[in-house]
């Protein structure tokens, strides 16, 4: 187990390293382009040359990379060009907002998806199964920005129940969280529900479930005590991987509802070519994604006794 843990952590570190190289090459390989982005397009060549020397861009690429990496490891991401403050000052509050959005989304989505998935997988091919499956295909097919438009029409313009933006200018408000969470849940729950359904349907066909049914256990007990334990191992991995998906989803939803979160920040940074902010956001996003992936792997191994005791 320890060897496995060590391997996973080492792989995680390697992935982060590779991603950092990739990002650095993507954004900073050309010093002149960086100078244009930092100083703006209406600067003279001399101004840019001076800036490049002053900021150490005349040194070889690998020296710059390691210095950059060292700074990042100490939490120094540089200055945001757009906001004119250190990147970390903008980044962490935004990340906290997104964590709230993500936590509420997961709190709604996971129970919903698991219950629907189990209900559908319990009796494969039943009418309930078919309607849940088709329903989840439909919700998954509607892009987030499209369902956001439809829900806004319904609940904001027509019924007038909810606010159309979620900027939270007057402090935290649950009402402003409803639409973003609904959009994310609608788009995301189908995948987990389908995984749960497949896993449940497979378990229901195993001999030990047949044994449990034949020895006269009530159906409810067969499901709760015997089927669920094994059926939920596969969805667990998928749930952890959904955090990776959520980091994509929040970009659209936060932009649409003007929620001051991490996704909107990354988009704003990208649209304005704020390269240090892009680097910081992308590194944080990948870090969160890789960490949850690692936890998922470890958790899967731990949950599955066939692997744990092997």
């Amino acid at each position: 187990m320890l060897v496995f843990l060590g391997k996973r952590l080492a792989f995680m570190a390697l992935t982060m390293l590779a991603v950092s190289i990739l990002l650095f090459l993507l954004l900073e390989v050309n010093g002149d382009a960086v100078a244009v982005k930092v100083l703006g397009p209406y600067t003279t060549d001399e101004q840019r040359a001076l800036w490049l020397v002053a900021n150490g861009y005349d040194r070889p690429l690998y020296v710059r990379y390691f210095e950059w990496l060292g700074n990042i490891l100490r939490g120094d991401f540089g200055q945001s060009i757009r906001f004119r403050v250190p990147v970390s000052e903008v980044l962490w509050p935004r990340l906290a907002n997104t964590a709230i959005l993500g936590a509420v989304t997961f709190g709604v989505m996971i129970p919903l998806a698991l219950v629907l998935g189990v209900l559908a997988g319990m009796r494969e091919g039943s009418r309930l199964d078919r309607s849940i499956s088709v329903g989840s295909i439909v919700t998954t097919s509607i892009p987030e920005f499209a369902s956001a438009v439809l829900l806004t029409f319904l609940f904001v313009f027509w019924l007038g129940w909810l606010p159309g933006t979620s900027a939270m200018n007057d402090g935290f408000a649950w009402r402003e969280l409803v639409l973003p969470v609904t959009v994310l849940v609608l788009y995301g729950f189908g995948y987990i529900a389908r995984m749960t359904r497949a896993s449940m349907a497979e378990v229901m066909q195993t001999p030990y479930i047949r044994t449990a049914v034949l020895k006269g256990l009530p159906y409810r007990q067969v499901i709760l005590r015997h089927a669920l334990r094994n059926a939920l191992i596969a969805p667990f991995t998928v749930i952890m991987l959904q955090i990776n998906w959520l980091l994509s989803g929040v970009i659209v939803v936060e932009f649409f509802f003007a929620y001051k979160g991490f996704g909107a920040l990354l988009l704003e940074a990208s649209l304005n070519q704020d390269i240090y902010l892009i680097q910081a956001c992308a590194m944080v996003a990948v870090f969160v994604a890789v960490t949850t992936q690692t936890i998922a792997d470890i958790g899967y191994t731990y949950l599955n006794p066939r692997i744990r005791f092997a």
């Binding site: 993507l26 097919s141 438009v149 990776n244 998906w245």
Partner: protein, 313 residues
């Protein structure tokens, strides 16, 4: 099965269809050569879901192909701003779906927009599959260090949240059709490679592969002629799903302002440009939303239907 392809599809015995995607799917069965479209349609008739999906996709394909004849007006010409659906057009005719904030006919823009999305999505998905299949075949068949390198490489790319990757790539290299194709290829090929690799790991030990090796066939021949055709079943289902995702991706990028450059119509971009005015002119936003949702739904239903049909056998 190859001898049945000459028989009329309705009386031909149903060819065995491959298993669905993972995990049971790894037993892709031997199937005949790609059957004619008539045969495929006869198969689809077995699943209502697949028929609905094929209908939706077919509808948009026809619309895209016939765009110049179906669109009543020039999609970029400006007439009457905010004209409501059914309003008369100054040159005669009507704005069936209304006009947008610049006075452009929305019906014409939705029709021409289908062309953009149905061109770039298949091209991007096709490129991703070409790269992913070659990577997967190499990794699965050659094993050894090739497998290690390709697998680690895809692990790294797959660790990115996908839209973060798209936003960073597209904003760095600029928003254009070719960059969208490249970004989709870069981001999707690793996922396809994993599926292909899994299938190949199973197929490479089959007798016909051993026979080909004994005959002295080249590696490329074995990979592309012996193994690939037998792995195609799960790949077709995956391609349908990925086409849907790519359409969503193109729509989302357009919505985020990173899509195909204006003024040519692009469904995601249309939503983005008009949503702030949706309070008083909802028709400008709602039709592109319906268009993209129905097209993606078509591909997803098609994928689900094909999987369902293949499970019946």
């Amino acid at each position: 099965m190859s001898d049945t392809s000459a028989v009329h599809p309705d009386i031909a015995p149903r060819p065995p269809l491959p298993e669905p995607a993972a995990p049971r799917a790894l037993r892709a069965r031997l199937t005949g050569p790609l059957r004619p479209i008539g045969g495929a349609l006869a198969l689809l008739r077995e699943s209502t879901v697949a028929m609905i999906g094929a209908g939706l996709v077919g509808f948009w394909v026809v619309v895209a192909l016939l765009a110049p004849w179906l669109a009543p007006f020039d999609p970029n010409a400006q007439f009457v701003p905010f004209a409501p659906p059914g309003a008369p057009h100054p040159d005669g005719g009507t704005f069936l779906l209304g006009a947008d904030h610049l006075g452009r006919d929305i019906l014409s823009r939705v029709i021409w927009g289908s062309r953009a999305v149905l061109f770039y999505a298949p091209v991007a998905t096709g490129c991703a599959f070409a790269v992913g299949i070659v990577m997967g075949l190499l990794a699965g068949y050659k094993r050894g260090w090739v497998d290690d390198v390709l697998s680690r490489l895809s692990d790294i790319i797959l660790s990115f949240p996908i839209l973060v990757l798209y936003v960073v790539i597209i904003s760095t290299f600029g928003a254009s059709g070719i960059n969208i194709v490249l970004a989709v290829t870069f981001a999707s090929a690793p996922g396809i490679m994993r599926i292909v690799r899994g299938l190949v790991l199973d197929l490479r030990n089959r007798d016909y592969v051993a026979a080909a090796q004994t005959r002295g066939e080249s590696t490329a021949w074995i990979m592309f002629v012996e193994i690939l055709p037998n792995a195609r079943g799960p790949l077709i289902v995956d391609a349908c799903l990925r086409l849907g995702y790519t359409i969503i991706t193109i729509g989302v990028l357009g919505f985020l302002g990173l899509g195909l450059p204006p003024p040519d119509p692009d469904w995601g971009g249309m939503v983005n440009q008009t949503r702030s005015m949706a309070t008083f002119a909802p028709h400008m936003t709602i039709f592109p939303v319906i268009a993209i949702s129905s097209l993606v739904l078509g591909f997803n239903l098609l994928a689900d239907g094909i999987r369902e049909i293949s499970l019946k056998d």
